[in-house]
Amino acid sequence: MKPTSRAFKSNASRALRDEPLKSALSGIKHGFVANRARARANLPEFEDLRDEARAVKEHALAHLDLYLEAYEKKVQETGGQVHWAASAEDARAAILKICRDAGAKTVTKGKSMVGEEIAINAYLENAGITPVETDLGEYLIQLRHEPPSHIIAPAIHLTKDQVEADFRKAHTDLPSARTLEEPEQLVAEARAILREKFLAADVGITGANLLIAETGTSVIVTNEGNGDLTQCLPRVHIVITSIEKVVPTLEDADTILRVLARSATGQEFSTYTTLTTGPKREGDPDGPDEYHVVLLDNGRSEMLGGVFRDMLRCIRCGACMNHCPVYGAVGGHAYGWVYPGPMGAVLTPSLIGVEEAGHLPNASTFCGRCEAVCPMRIPLPKMMRHWREREFENGDTPTLYKLGLKLWAFAARRPAIYHRLTGIVSPLLSRLGRKGRFSSMPLAGGWTRYRDLPAPQGKTFQQRWRERDGQ
């Protein structure tokens, strides 16, 4: 998809005026956030497990070339094929070739963020192959021709009423008088429609949460079971994944799985965790005849050698966005590409360039909650600062912003002037602010349009400090 990350500011403004979006996002606090807190409280070793999970990925990344080779060897030994793809274009071409060779007309898909990253659906459609998203959230956004707005809950921006309207528009074969008010009815309708698609598909494409070098295994984690129906029914199974997903052993996978679901949905373990090793074996009554793994690089090998290496530990749980005040206010679409929230603000400029996505690292209050909840302890605020520094060095910072900074720096370096100014401005603002707040202010419209600006109260910090010293 074409990124709109450059327009983050206007995207965000639009999102802030979007009432259904506001209503949809309001559920995160009582859902994901509360559930994660409960899961964490119920496992005394949770913080230690975070350290161990980080160590597993650190070790795997430090030996990535060797684990990728070991992984590939095992996949081949068990009858599967590995396709290396340096770019999104290479990955798309590899997938299309496998689909063409299989004579595929329809392809079912499990949820895959790498699939979104390489925009595989549009590519297959252009080639005359119909991709069908089977994760309920992904199915909803496919009907709406929208990108996901969250990495584990792609349709979190939608309300029930919007889903009902979309289903009535799309499922025209069904009686128009049917009731579709309750989530149960909507889920049942999607289940019946997608069941037919599962049974008819020629190829199934899934992502992978992890790859295991020891056994040549790909791992998917779902709650719906859609990823499993996607991969066990068609003749061909394609796994689209990226090189940083590999871990050494089953035991290492256990460690990561122990923090993944708890951080993501707050479940202790997802309903279905599936380990797949090669295609159908002799005597197997089901399973695919072919098993392909498309291994994408797309800038990751370069990240490994730079300041954004820590980002490669990310296991795509979504905790950072669930806890982010900016994400909670504007939702995922404002970020303008595939990966939203704090992890997206760091990853997107690495993958599509700082010219495209330089605004995203500015979409942060630096409150630090993202790092505090990240199961892999990725220093997200620090990395957003790296991007801001680069943006500044590149001269991409807006002129007005630079002028403001210069003025502030001028005053801040001259304490006498600074104190004099704050001594005048602060009481003045205090008197001007009605009931202690401003509902509008010149140059601060971006803030006051959505919330009041508190007026300074009482004396300045410096004045109070002097008084305290004088006592």
Partner: protein, 226 residues
Amino acid sequence: MSRSNARKNILNAVRHSLGVTDTDTVREKTVAKRLKAHKPNLVPEIAKVSGKKAVALISEKLEGQGATVSHVDKPDQIPERIAEYLRENNLPAEFRTGDDSMLSQIPWSKASSLTRHTGRGQGDDAVTISRADTAAAETGTLFLTSGADNPTTLNFLPDTHIVVIRAKDIRGSYEDAWNILRKAYKKQGLPRTVNLVSGPSRTADIEQIIVMGAHGPRRLHVIIVG
């Protein structure tokens, strides 16, 4: 770019970023050792259970995740328990299983009302029965393996999935469960598919409201034997 070139280029780029030199053999030894040892990392205390405690824990966890659990002493009590379960839930008295040795030896005729079909799962199966090889009590997680004994499609296509497991096969942690599979499959490595199942299918994709039976089974019933 040809495929072999892509492989070489990616691996070279990785090595370049890591600053690896050709003369470095320590890394290779480290990796070989770790793969061979497959040592457990930190295992939480809750997972360090066995025997009756493991059975109690897995029952509690499964029920907390929306499954139902019942117990029988001997395999030949299974048909009656299943007949009862199907009646209680107004389900048809027929089901499908694979060739699993334990399930095949059960005297199904004891509950004459039941009809048993065999083979891989079908799109309109109402009830299927599988046997789990092992389980990890720590999160109520059943380990089911692919093959003619217990076809994978039986785990996902039916409305109601019944899983039978022997009490003695239940372990505390995932690590202990893997060791059971490692012992059973030895040099073959893992079976094609290992499904770790911790409850019935669900989704929360509409307004974060949990609805059971998204694509997989709406009901999961676990029978612990022994």
